[in-house]
């Protein structure tokens, strides 16, 4: 298993190299910018490339895209400080195999390398947590619902019709109806008329 590591921070680069080697992989090349990384990937076709995102020249995402475009067999793991979903989504779009955060590299890198080496995808658990971070601490029934669904429940409690709800939330009536059936499903309610209203009254929401 040949691994390429690219990071513009020499300290981080050295640290990562040590870990990867410690995990029993062979570090074929290291470099400190995207352009060099891409050239080396093209030249040596390493099995795995661990890339930082923020690098001079081409960044990690650029390199990922080029690799995807060139249909190279090198699997990319992004090792980054970026915890933004926008970045992650972009990265997934570019066909990366692994996405882990630098601060949790110590705990996740080995597992990630392992999964990717097997041809699986690995996404940092800390990143996944972030997606549900805001309402995961809410432990009542509503915590299962999305914001839209909760807002709809609130408006049902105010005796609003689907049409009124659609108007108030700038949604289409159809969307609201869709949300309603999702809510019924999520709450495990029987499919009967005005069941949501009854449930709302019953639960004094």
């Amino acid at each position: 298993m040949n691994v390429l590591i690219a990071d513009d921070h020499p300290f981080t680069l050295q640290g990562t190299k040590s870990f990867v080697e410690a995990y029993g992989y062979k570090v074929a090349d290291t470099c400190s910018n995207g352009v060099a990384a891409l050239n080396l990937i093209k030249l040596h076709h390493p099995d795995i490339a661990i890339l930082d995102i923020n690098m001079p020249g081409l960044d990690g995402l650029d390199v990922s895209l080029k690799v995807q475009e060139s249909k190279l067999r090198t699997k990319i793991i992004l090792l980054t400080m970026h915890k933004e979903m926008t970045i992650y989504k972009k990265a997934i779009e570019y066909g990366i195999y692994g996405y882990i955060l630098k601060e949790h590299a110590q705990t996740e890198l080995e597992k990630c390398l392992e999964e990717v080496a097997k041809g699986n995808r690995y996404v940092s658990t800390f990143l996944e947590d972030d997606l549900f971070q805001d309402h995961s601490n809410d432990d009542n029934l509503l915590s299962k619902l999305t914001l839209s669904e909760r807002k709809i429940i609130e408006l049902i409690a105010q005796q609003k019709t689907s049409k009124q709800i659609a108007g108030l939330l700038f949604l289409s009536e159809k969307t609201v109806e869709g949300h309603r059936s999702n809510i019924i499903e999520k709450l495990g309610l029987p499919k009967e008329k005005n069941i949501l209203l009854k449930w709302v009254i019953l639960n004094r929401i």
């Binding site: 926008t86 805001d134 914001l147 807002k151 939330l169 700038f170």
Partner: protein, 667 residues
């Protein structure tokens, strides 16, 4: 109010003014000038009858009667009327009023005149008027002439006829001393004569004016008008020049200019004799003055011969006035020659008639003769009586002359009044014009004020906008400082603090240390995100907005939906501004709107991109908020929109707020 509207209003006002001015302009009256027909459509007989040369021929009347009777028989009344008109005019001008002709005229008037147009028979009234004039019955004469003044004017002939009727009426009034009416009638005649292309027909009018001025003792003007009358006779073969010359002599007589009177009497008399004209009516008065001149020179024998020569002509003429004039002439001769008249009856019997007809001029002559006679006969009793009567007549003339003087003053006064009236009218017109000018200038002034106001308002608006911009810049700087302060404090309070705490707990246990470090990293992420959207260039507008929407929903528990139909045709710099605008708007909604939900849409059209941020919150007063000092957010939106070539429209009411920004693509 927009400038355009002002301009339109101003234009409307301006046109109104023009209309008013147009209406105030006097319409010029057009006077129709009737042209005298060049050729008289007379047949041979009528042409012959019309020739003055033929009037004194013995067969003149028989030619007329034959022609007239034949035409009547043939039913050609127009021709018959024409012939009779010609003859009646000739007879009138020669003061010849014989019975057979009068009867013919009366018969014609009774039976045939309604078979021809009124104008063709108007000569009947002229002839009858002339007849009564000669008889001294002026009232009757005037009534006949007046009928002819009713002729409707539609051609040269009718116009001339009407003017002629007024002219003759004027002369009649002059004879009976009603100078006022004379003047009025003469002016009317002038009106009509001036509507023709013939100037020479004005001569009779100037002669009338001369007579009127004479009666008013204004001899200078009398002579002036008389000269004009004579001037217009120039070039005429058979003219009224002798009548006007006689009138001139008369003026000299009354003016006391005897030298001129005698000289003119002499020359006129000889000139008349030399001309070979046969017109007793004018010959008698001319001779009267010539004889006066002879008396003055003591040539009684010559006078007697002249009187004898004249007698058959006078008898033949049989004119009342001429008879009387002749009688007075003879009486005067007798007084001079024989110191007394053989028979005063002749004179005395005409007195009541003259008195009745108010023929004061002739009456005075009669009393003067009688007085001279009585003195000559040493009949002092009668002399006294005649003197008293004469004085009475003189008084009546004098008083009449006085009255005339008054009338003259009246006329002058009236003229003056009329002049004043005209001046007043002119003044009024001028005042009107001034008012209009004033009005126009006031309107223009108002228009200018309006324009000035609009400009001022615009300037104020600009000033306000400038102030707002300045305020915005100031606030921008302040905000930047605030931002820096916040970053500094964030870094200081969270990062530094955490690091310090980390340092203290470093030795204790590894797990809590790790947790703290993770916390610091997350803090820094948050600070960084707040400063700038992470990797905006890479992620793009759509994903960044969606991320922001998601984050707002999660963090603020606020319902936001987004519809982004954007294909990326704007530069990243512009995109960032759009992001900032949406960020600002959303932040405002969360802070102030009290809304249930908000909706963001970025829609790309063919040439524009429309960004809309709306909420269903409580709304706010846009203008008021923009003008107060706590509207940095709104100004931020407006200024950023302007910076990327768009304009933010902010509409807000109690049902919510909509911010719309339209950006042109080719930027």
């Amino acid at each position: 109010m927009s400038v355009k509207k002002y301009i339109i209003q101003f234009r409307i006002l301006f046109f109104l003014c023009l209309l008013i001015l147009g209406a105030c302009n006097k319409q010029k009256e057009e006077t129709i000038i009737y042209k005298k027909p060049l050729k008289l459509n007379f047949d041979a007989t009528c042409t012959w009858l019309n020739d003055v040369e033929n009037y004194n021929k013995k067969n003149y009347l028989s030619v007329f009667y034959t022609y007239y009777n034949q035409k009547i028989k043939e039913g050609k009344f127009i021709e018959a009327s024409r012939a009779m008109e010609i003859v009646s005019l000739k007879k009138s001008s020669h003061v010849s009023f014989d019975k057979p002709f009068m009867n013919t005229i009366n018969f014609y008037s009774k039976n045939y005149r309604n078979k021809v147009p009124a104008i063709n028979a108007s000569f009947v009234e002229s002839y009858l008027g002339d007849y009564y004039t000669d008889k001294g019955e002026f009232a009757k004469a005037i009534s006949y002439y007046t009928k002819n003044t009713l002729i409707p004017v539609n051609d040269y002939k009718s116009c001339y006829k009407k003017g002629d009727a007024y002219s003759t009426i004027s002369w009649c009034y002059q004879c009976i001393g009603d100078q006022k009416s004379a003047l009025a009638a003469n002016y009317k005649a002038l009106d009509y004569f001036k509507q023709t292309d013939q100037t020479n027909i004005l001569q009779t009018l100037y002669d009338n004016f001369g007579g009127i001025y004479e009666a008013m003792h204004d001899y200078d003007n009398a002579l002036k008008n008389n000269s004009l009358a004579i001037k217009y006779t120039r070039g005429e073969k058979y003219s009224n020049v002798y009548t006007y010359l006689f009138n001139r002599i008369n003026i000299y007589d009354h003016a006391g200019q005897y030298d001129k009177m005698y000289a003119l009497s002499d020359s006129t008399y000889h000139s008349f004799k030399k001309s070979g004209e046969v017109n007793t009516w004018i010959e008698v008065p001319l001779t009267q003055y010539y004889i006066k001149k002879l008396y003055h020179e003591g040539k009684f024998e010559e006078s007697k011969n002249l009187l004898d020569e004249l007698k058959p002509e006078v008898i033949a003429l049989n004119s009342n006035i001429t008879n009387l004039e002749y009688d007075v002439l003879v009486a005067e001769y007798e007084i001079k020659k024989n110191k007394g008249i053989k028979d005063t009856k002749l004179i005395k019997k005409s007195i009541p008639i003259l008195l009745e007809n108010r023929h004061f001029g002739k009456l005075r002559d009669c009393y003067s003769v009688l007085l001279d006679d009585a003195v000559a006969k040493k009949d002092y009793k009668n002399a006294h009586l005649y003197a008293v009567e004469g004085a009475k007549i003189q008084d009546s003339i004098a008083s009449m002359e006085m009255a005339n003087a008054v009338i003259e003053f009246d006329v002058k006064y009236k003229t003056k009044k009329k002049e004043q009236q005209i001046a007043l009218q002119e003044n009024t017109i001028q005042n009107k014009n001034t008012t209009i000018a004033l009005l126009v200038s006031v309107l223009i002034g108002l228009g200018l004020i309006g324009v000035a106001l609009v400009l001022l308002q615009k300037q104020r608006k600009l000033k306000k906008e400038k102030q707002n911009t300045q305020l915005y810049t100031k606030q921008l700087l302040e905000k930047t400082e605030e931002e820096r302060k916040r970053i500094a404090s964030d870094l200081h309070d969270s990062v530094s603090h955490e690091l310090l705490s980390l340092k203290n707990t470093f030795e204790e246990n590894a797990e809590s240390t790790n947790k703290k470090i993770d916390g610091i990293i997350n803090d820094i992420r948050s600070i960084s995100r707040n400063l700038h959207p992470i990797m905006f260039d890479k992620v793009g507008l759509k994903a960044t907005i969606n991320q922001m929407v998601e984050r707002t929903q999660n963090v603020n528990d606020f319902m936001v939906t987004a519809e982004i139909d954007y294909k990326g045709s704007l530069s990243s710099v512009v995109e960032l501004q759009i992001y900032r605008i949406i960020q600002e708007a959303l932040s405002n909604i969360i802070k102030y709107a009290d809304a249930v939900a908000a909706r963001i849409s970025v829609i790309e059209y063919k040439s524009t991109i429309v960004i809309e941020i709306k909420d269903n919150g409580k709304g706010f007063n846009v203008q008021e908020t923009l003008n107060n000092n706590h509207s940095f957010g709104l100004h931020n939106i407006i200024e950023r929109s302007r910076a990327i070539g768009g304009e933010a429209k902010i509409v807000s009411d109690p049902n919510g707020t909509i911010i719309t920004i339209e950006i042109k693509k080719h930027l």
